[in-house]
């Protein structure tokens, strides 16, 4: 609590106009835009591929499924700096498959996909497991197509899970630092995200600018936590009705 208070206090040291100047400096704005854009792309990718992965884990049966289930948690266990390094080994200058995305924006999206992979899978999986299959069978026997069954029966049930997973992934992506340090090269205006920008400001002794940019990230984190709370609240009420 106290560190957060100190952070907010430091950001306001030069008054409101000082705070605004720091937040609206071109480099800070470029970094924030890039952060939000990349996080948004990653959130959408996660929503689709995460849901598919959860679906396969719950409804499909094949050898090696238990292994696949365990691998999902790898990004939780692997240090982020190692994640960046491993991605660079496959998609960097010495790539054995000839794909080199080092120091580009694609590298940012790739790193963020790595670190946020488990969130949607792990929020959708338990919901799918508990989903009553009789509803789907009823829909099918009443003549609904597979697409229609998915859209009308399954999707409404797993949507809260997808949304809270996406929100968590988005929050994680916005604040991510470790996996991006090595892989993006931190080129201002090109591949510098907000967390890296803040780190750079600290290193060059500009605590006020760093604090101002950090407060912006702090507000975003709070907003996401709040929206997850709202999603949970609405779902619970929906269940009771």
């Amino acid at each position: 609590m106290l560190p957060i208070a100190a952070l907010v206090a430091a950001s306001g040291e030069d008054g409101w106009s000082g705070f605004w100047d720091a937040v609206s400096s071109p480099q800070a704005v470029a970094a924030l835009k890039l952060t939000l854009g990349a996080s948004l792309v990653v959130a959408v990718v996660n929503a689709v591929l995460g849901t598919i992965t959860a679906w396969v884990l719950v409804r499909d049966e094949f050898r090696g499924k238990a292994m696949m289930n365990a691998v999902i948690d790898l990004p939780f266990a692997l240090p982020t700096i190692v994640a960046g390094l491993t991605l660079l080994a496959l998609y960097g200058p010495r790539s054995p498959i000839g794909i080199d995305v080092a120091y580009t924006r694609a590298a940012i999206v790739l790193a963020l996909m790595f670190v946020t992979l488990p969130f949607v899978v792990r929020t959708v999986q338990p919901v799918l497991q508990e989903l009553d299959r009789e509803m789907e069978q009823a829909a099918k026997s009443l003549g609904a197509s597979e697409a229609k069954t998915f859209g009308r029966v399954i999707l409404p049930n797993i949507l809260p899970g997808i949304l809270s997973g996406v929100a968590l992934a988005f929050a994680k992506a916005v604040g991510e630092f470790g996996s991006l340090v090595i892989i993006t090269g931190n080129l201002p205006y090109k591949t510098e995200v907000s967390s890296v920008y803040i780190f750079g400001r600290i290193e060059s002794g500009d605590g006020t600018a760093a604090a101002a940019a950090a407060v912006v990230l702090l507000v975003i984190s709070f907003g996401v936590l709040l929206s997850i709370g709202v999603i949970r609240h609405v779902t619970v009420r929906h269940d009771r009705a």
């Binding site: 560190p3 100190a6 499909d60 691998v71 266990a77 692997l78 054995p96 470790g178 605590g207």
Partner: protein, 263 residues
């Protein structure tokens, strides 16, 4: 047909993002045999970095375990003013950027910070030294035990605790004999997650440690240092050790999760 297509999409996705890159690092590290990897790991600065990481983890994990259990009990079993706030705040380290956490500590304990003057007068080296790195690590790994314990406490209810209390057990006795045994797998699971997070912490520690080679450099900081000074083999070797720890964590999680669900 559709089922198979979905399965291939999911497997391809995991291979491309998770398994593939890790496999390449393993291959590249041992390309020149075990000797060069071992040589990179026995560098004194690297050994020191691993020692430092272990010290920090050995302090942060017990602190967070006790805090997590106390917090979980407080949130589930008691009602007090500010409980909702505590419940919301406990998740904050999960959503907050580690760099922001580091910066907040830096501003609080730095020379011009609120506690900086006091620390200076008493000649305590906090920033760019072990204490700040421990505090930063505790902060980022705070929620894991509590997050595992809270749902389990809700599920088991308090009937057994009340029965123990009626039969004359003291608060401590009830906790040691009834509560702790029934949440033990949740605690173990939380401790594993906390340990993984502590060993792998990078952003917050990078800010408060000052990254002094051979002094305040942890294993993860050492990876970057080695990579940026073109010692790719060294960076890979340290990464492999950290990755092996991560794989061990995964195996433990897979073994413990079914037990937790049964309990």
């Amino acid at each position: 047909m559709r089922r198979l297509a979905l399965r291939l999409v999911a497997i391809g996705y995991l291979l491309a993002i998770l398994v593939g890159p890790l496999a390449i690092v393993f291959w590249r590290t041992f390309e020149d045999g075990f000797g060069s990897a071992w040589e990179a790991l026995s560098d004194p600065d690297t050994v020191h970095a691993f020692e430092l990481t272990l010290i920090i983890t050995a302090i942060a994990v017990p602190v967070n375990t006790v805090f997590g259990i106390v917090c979980g009990l407080a949130i589930v079993r008691r009602s007090f003013p500010g409980k909702g706030l505590l419940n919301a705040f406990i998740d904050l380290p999960l959503a907050l950027s580690p760099v922001v956490v580091g910066l907040a500590l830096y501003l609080l304990y730095g020379r011009d910070g609120w506690f900086g003057g006091w620390l200076d007068r008493h000649d305590i080296q906090f920033l760019f030294a072990l204490p700040s790195m421990i505090v930063a690590t505790i902060f980022v790994s705070l929620p894991f035990v509590a997050r595992e314990v809270i749902p389990t406490l809700r599920e088991i209810g308090d009937e057994q605790e009340q029965a123990a209390h009626t039969l004359g057990a003291s608060g401590w006795q009830t906790f040691w004999r009834i509560t702790l045994p029934s949440i033990r797998w949740a605690v173990v699971y939380g401790v594993i997650l906390t340990t993984a997070r502590c060993l792998g912490e990078y952003g917050a520690v990078a800010v408060v440690s000052g990254r002094l080679q051979g002094q305040t450099e942890t294993a993860t900081l050492r990876v970057q240092e080695a990579y940026e000074s073109f010692d790719v083999a060294g960076a890979y070797a340290i990464s492999i050790v950290l990755a092996l720890i991560a794989v061990t964590v995964l195996v433990l999680m897979t073994v413990i999760r079914p037990r937790e669900e049964r309990a």
